[in-house]
Symmetry: C2
Subunit: 199 residues, 2 copies
DNA sequence: TCCTTTGTACACCGGGCTGTGTACTTAACG
DNA sequence: CGTTAAGTACACAGCCCGGTGTACAAAGGA
């Protein structure tokens, strides 16, 4: 119910969004009420609704905030060959060694929202396509025979690992990584395995 | 809210469960209220709560009912070689040609329920393990080098296709099938591709 | 200093949800 | 026929949720 003792002042919007990240990811979207979210953000409910038109709006903005941060760490690593970059995408994201990888927030949103026309569902779709495109770009750089196909395949593996980790309550990324290795070895020319095809 | 005109009589429990299948699959679990469900089942709300302790109970039972029906069609086909059976698991399930494959109900439940200790989550986990085991059994029958690994890999592909179909709002099973073909060809001995290793 | 912008406190509304109480009706079976 | 199990109709309790109205307090630039 907002900040009871100390005033928290000006950074309301940012606090709301970062509280969203914490709560939506750990509890899910539907199970997180606006009251709890405002309490976590130390923001009054009124303020929240002055910054966001509604919960839907907040959810959409929460998803939009993921785009930059998620994939940048992997794809911008110029020290790795394309092949290594593709494989690095399957290393456990932000691996707190005893915690499970949480379900991809876009899949979570798509399942919880369930309306394909909802802005959040649009963002989810856009993100997934963008990620596949990035994978395809790295695949092309590595000299893959059919980069788009490999990108889509690897993206599917990531989604599978994420969903399966949630259902089984056990880490599934290593399995996905093993499949990815097979696909990459098959699609990338053997001579370029340790070196990009860039000339 | 229940049967307004005609009385429907004795088959209440079955009608409730089959209405669950229709509504939970098309709308999701949380978005389907007991009122709507009872209306669809043409059953009074009171009757529903005489058959099930609560909605949680109904959801658990709804999931339990899937076990026999889903995989039986594929794995019992003795006319197919093990390799063909493994591949058949990736053919679009119940393909209404213009409709998307709905999200696997166990993934749906695991995401919507979100509590790993909930009976529904248990069923989901059990089902996923059982399916992987069935795939592994077929893989073993086909002479795979590491049947358990192949089973787990194929199961992950199915989950990935299911989740990604939902997020992208576009069919992803063909992609998964292509990956499956690669994995199967790699794991099954070439001489046994058209014939089981049974002797 | 004053005034605008931002945030606060808190009660409250309407609606949907799960679940129940009660009195009644019907179908099946002996 | 009579008895009993199954189902019905419907109102209603209680809860939580998203969202709002109102009156007030503080920060910060001019």
């Amino acid at each position: 119910m907002g900040p009871q003792g100390r005033r928290r002042g000006r950074g309301a919007r940012e606090r709301i969004l970062s509280a969203s990240q914490r709560l939506f990811r750990t509890q899910g979207i539907n199970r997180t009420g606006m009251d709890q979210l405002c309490a976590e953000a130390q923001v009054s409910k009124r303020t929240a609704y002055q910054h966001f038109a509604g919960k839907d709006d907040l959810v959409a903005e929460y998803l939009r905030r993921f785009d930059p941060e998620v994939m940048a760490g992997v794809f911008d690593r110029t020290d790795l060959t394309p092949r290594e970059r593709l494989l690095a995408a399957f290393e456990l994201p932000a691996s707190g060694s005893d915690e499970l990888t949480p379900l991809c927030p876009y899949i979570e949103a798509a399942v919880e929202i369930h309306d394909p026309r909802h802005p959040a569902s649009q963002y989810a779709r856009d993100y997934k396509l963008a990620l596949a495109a990035r994978l395809a770009a790295a695949a092309r750089e590595g000299g893959a025979t059919d980069p788009e196909q490999l990108g889509e395949q690897l993206a599917l593996l990531l989604d599978g690992a994420s969903a399966r980790t949630r259902v089984l309550n056990a880490e599934s990324f290593p399995t996905a990584a093993a499949i990815a290795a097979v696909l990459i070895d098959k699609a990338l020319p053997a001579t370029d395995r340790d070196r990009g095809s860039e000339g």
